[in-house]
Amino acid sequence: MNNTVIINILRFALLVLTQVLIFNNLNFLGFINPMVYVIFFYWYPIKGNRAIFMLTAFLLGLVIDIFSDNLALHALASVTVAYARPAVMRFCFGVNYDFQNFSFKNTTKVQRITFLAIIVLIHHLIFFSFEILSITHILLILKKVFATGIVTLILCILFSSLFSPKSE
């Protein structure tokens, strides 16, 4: 129990630092800054208090917001992802998710990638819609969501296979 808490705190700090020091300055093709910290919601333990999960998500978003000077956009997107995660998991992993001994080990790769993709899509859609906040710029919003989303997804898949937790 204690171990997972420490691991998650470390993950929190490391993801914030990688996000603000590396990925926020990437500016790939002039506008793509992938938000890899979304992988936190993939890695976060499945069995846990949802309230604490949402609070952690809110804090994670807020810290990144303070660093990037766009107050509360990341926080809004993160807390929504945290709230929607159980529903997304039920959608991706089917009835297996409701069993007590569910873990990522007995899921297929396609299921996991779908799960990540939906999380990234929800997060980016909310982030860019509220960043631009104008229905007349809907094409710009979609362009940013899909371009950034695909890069984020690829990086998240890479990260998840690079640092896959062995014991969880």
Binding site: L17, N27, I66, F67, L71, E131
Partner: protein, 270 residues
């Protein structure tokens, strides 16, 4: 009563989500319409120090390029100095100079979001105040928004809230410089009357109407222009001189007469 409590308990996660989302939404909408938050911004000590440490490392990668650029600027300024014929005897008393110039280093740049803020490594202790103008070696960059002890945040010209007085070089036709968020190499100059003769390639400089920037600081060149919806003013696309994606050293300009001007203007409105 029992039912209400049961209801709240059953949907406690939804309520908690609504609560967090509400806080985040309030902050988001505030940031759209008001000034940057005084407390939560990257000029604070923790965020500033982390960015400072990161920039200490990354600044080594383009030292040579940056040196080259500064040398070229020095060369240009020296040329101007040696060739200025009119009485070059400047008053030695520095208190008589209207503009004070400080230098600073960028520790965080941003140009992809609709509201871009830049963080620099000089703060109150170095004499930085709110509303100082910020320029690069090539042109304009923005205005200081928040200041902490050792750091400051700058509202970039690439910010939908930015609105800077600008004019066409050599004339007195002035308008406002805004940004439509589409391209980080271009800003828009609006409110130039349609009878003004324009040529693509004309230089745009800061106007003398603001107490923040001195007159004639270069901004960019006219790339494209057309009339706006009312057909009485031009919308001009201005290509910026500063490469917003690649800035390291900046200058801060302070107008020492600013307080006097603002006080006078405030008194006039009353």
């Amino acid at each position: 009563m029992q039912r209400i409590i049961n209801f709240v308990l059953r949907y406690r996660n939804a309520f908690l989500y609504a609560f967090f989302a509400f806080i985040a939404l309030v902050m988001t909408f505030r940031s759209h319409s008001y000034h940057q938050s005084k407390f939560f911004n990257s000029s604070r000590w923790v965020t500033g120090s982390i960015y400072g440490a990161g920039s200490d490392v990354s600044s080594y990668f383009n030292l040579q390029e940056e040196n080259q650029r500064l040398t070229e600027e020095n060369q240009r300024l020296r040329k101007m100095l040696f060739n200025s014929q009119e009485d070059s005897i400047q008053p030695l008393d520095s208190t008589l100079a209207v503009y004070e110039v400080l230098n600073a280093r960028l520790i965080k740049n941003s140009f992809t979001s609709p509201r871009n803020y830049i963080t620099i490594d000089k703060g109150e202790e170095d004499g930085v105040h709110q509303d100082m103008g910020v320029i690069t070696t090539d042109g304009i960059l923005g205005i200081v928004e928040n200041v902490s002890k050792n750091f400051a945040t700058v509202q970039s010209v690439l910010n939908t809230k930015s609105n800077i007085n600008a004019k066409i070089k050599g004339t007195e036709y002035f308008g406002s410089l805004v940004w439509d968020t589409k391209d980080y190499t271009e800003v828009q100059l609006i409110d130039i009357a349609r009878l003004v003769p324009l040529v693509v390639g004309d230089t745009i400089v800061t106007g003398g109407m603001s107490s923040i920037f001195p007159e004639n600081v270069p901004i960019g060149t006219i790339k494209k222009y057309d009339l706006n919806a009312s057909k009485s003013f031009y919308n001009i696309d201005v290509e910026l001189f500063s490469d917003m994606a690649n800035i390291k050293n900046v200058y801060l300009i302070e107008n020492k007469d600013k307080e006097e001007i603002q006080e006078l203007e405030a008194r006039t409105i009353e």
